[in-house]
Amino acid sequence: MDALAPVIASTLIAGTPLMLAALGLLVNERSGVINLGSEGMMLMGAITAFATTVAFGSFGLGFVLAAVVGVVMAAFFAWLTIWLGANQVATGLALSLFGVGASAYLGLPYAGESLQPPQFAIPILGDIPLLGPALFRHHPLVYGAVALCIAVAWFLGRTRPGLILRAVGESPSSAHSLGYNVRRIRLAAVLFGGMCCGLAGAFMSLVYTPLWMEGMVAGRGWIALALTTFATWRPFRVMAGAYLFGGITILTFHMQAVGVPIASQLLSMLPYIATIVVLVLISRNATWIRLNMPASLGKNFNPNT
């Protein structure tokens, strides 16, 4: 029982970067654009945040600049795919490839360096035994991610702009003929996705493990992409998936520490297998899947044709 609080706490922290990136990608994909550049954007966000904080001493500025870098990378992606009509999958992959290499290069002077992040605690709530350390002593962005999830769900489901965005994702030509500027709407969605990935990367290098090492995002960008399909493009399911994945990973570590006699490699498979199993369970209704996946996902739209 002693370990319950640390397990919950670690789960929230492990799930946060996945959730941030996946929510951004979800909005991105709801508008019909698939951006596989998440890993690259997260890494560039991570190094930007780290370098900024080392140079200026401000964690806040680190987060802001990481978001900006994410937006810039996404803008480049948007220009290539939305305006020049390049293949979305390939462009996203190029973005990731470039981001991985560029972040490693830019991060050379910072290899192995580390930061001391400030500790946070919500007054009063943070002192409740068990629940306090589990839930109320986290970095603001952990709560921000939850807030973002609620905001995205509300935006997509209950606001007019959100409805228009979803319409663009379902049928860009219909939206176009209704007079909406499909390109601008998609651009906004892509930029939002980039910003979230940048923030997720910053969280990795400023909060999760406050150090820089090349490739430190270690595939979480790809997991985030997978989570949006796992979540069938619904924000609360993204949250569930992120915490499920993060939580099982943490649990397997505790199982090892307690001496459960299963090989560590087999235990490490659990988060991945669990994600597949849950996906299978919730995907059985084909009609429902088709209703949820943005119909124009991955297809470019040219208003001039």
Partner: protein, 362 residues
């Protein structure tokens, strides 16, 4: 670009310039070209960083008698063979391949280049022109264990390991034996992260160990994440590979460090003198290839004295971390008396008494 990068670029240029000058001015003694293959980026701490420190020490010691080059981040597998062969083809006469996964590629290339000397780290196969080097890190781990055993309050030690290979197991077991030699109630808990190099997982593992009550952590992985987690949460840590006190001034009790400079220098000098032979060098505290250093000011004087005493005993050969009688943690007797010989050490595949858990059976 950055100062550090310019420094790397400049040192490469300086090496090139040195070679040119040396060959122009001293036609009779060409500098020995020495190549290094690193398995990961050099970084600022960790296995490769210590290898790189060794290379720099060798360059400082031998001056313009040697010129070096290195390739970093070379994956084990088919690519390694190409890189090693390329270094040999470029005229390097002494090549250090610094990861156990390079063993078979090194041997393959060595067969084709009989006049080039190769030194492979942590392997077990030699050839006429291939030597093996390793260090008895476990001796230093034993000493670190003594410090941990004396300083722990919860009697639970946490170990973040990469892969359950004998070298890592030697470390875990020696650490535990050292701790229990001064505190028989201590137990060690191990989490395997299945990667040499994933700071996120390392940190999660460190936090999980702390959640299980460990108040002294150590690791056998390549990043500073474990030690940093200890610093952040206010517990102690034993660093590995490098002294990490500048990253974690409060947490680090002591560091178990690697030092290759002497060995590299001796090997290069031997090649220059023509006296190099292929052998298996497994140096430890005595040869100064493994050290305990970076002691925290909080470590009391009597503990420091005890460590020094045990260190001298190991160097004199009177004590080894693995003296019998030795039992594994399932109760089976592994050694009745005497001490484990090198063969038994390199095949170690069990946990000693005091380590919690079970290794996958073969």
């Amino acid at each position: 670009m950055s100062v550090k990068f310019l420094r790397h670029a400049l040192s490469a240029a300086a090496v090139a310039a040195t070679v040119v000058l040396a060959s122009a001015a001293h036609a009779q003694q060409e500098p020995l070209k020495v190549g290094f293959v690193y398995v990961s980026p050099i970084g600022e701490a960790g296995w490769t960083w210590q290898q790189e420190q060794g290379r720099r020490e060798m360059m400082a010691a031998l001056g313009d008698k040697v010129s070096t080059q290195f390739v970093e981040d070379v994956p084990e597998g088919a690519d390694a063979e190409r890189v090693i062969r390329d270094l040999a083809q470029q005229g390097n006469k002494l090549i250090f391949t610094t990861s156990f996964g390079y063993m078979n590629p090194t041997l393959k290339v060595a067969r084709q280049f009989p006049d080039v000397k190769f030194v492979h780290s942590t392997g077990y196969k030699t050839a006429d022109n291939v030597a093996v080097t390793n260090a008895r890190f476990y001796e230093a781990r034993y000493l670190a264990g003594i410090v941990a055993g004396k300083m722990t309050k919860s009697n639970i030690l946490g170990y973040v390991g990469a892969f359950p290979i004998p070298e890592v197991l030697q470390g875990i077991n020696a650490f535990t034996l050292g701790a229990r030699s001064v505190n028989p109630n201590v137990e060690t808990r191990v989490i395997w992260v299945n990667s040499w190099y994933d700071p996120g997982k390392e940190r999660d593992a460190a936090l999980a160990l702390m959640g299980q009550g460990a108040d002294i952590l150590t690791h056998h992985t390549d990043s500073t994440a474990t030690v940093l987690a200890a610093e952040e949460k206010g517990v102690h840590a034993v660093a590995y590979h490098s002294d990490m006190s500048r990253f974690a001034p409060k947490a680090q009790l002591v560091a178990v460090t690697h030092h290759w400079g002497d060995y590299f220098t001796k090997a290069a000098q031997a090649v220059l003198d023509g006296t190099w032979k292929s052998d298996m060098t497994w140096g430890g505290l005595k040869e100064d290839m493994a050290r305990v250093e970076g002691f925290n000011a909080a470590v009391p004087q009597d503990v420091l004295q005890l460590v020094e005493e045990k260190k001298q005993a190991i160097i004199a050969g009177k004590l080894t971390p693995f003296d019998g009688p030795l039992k594994d943690n399932a109760g089976k007797v592994v050694l009745e008396s005497g001490s484990l010989n090198d063969d038994a050490l390199t095949r170690m595949n069990y946990y000693v008494e005091g380590v919690v858990g079970k290794l996958p059976s073969k």
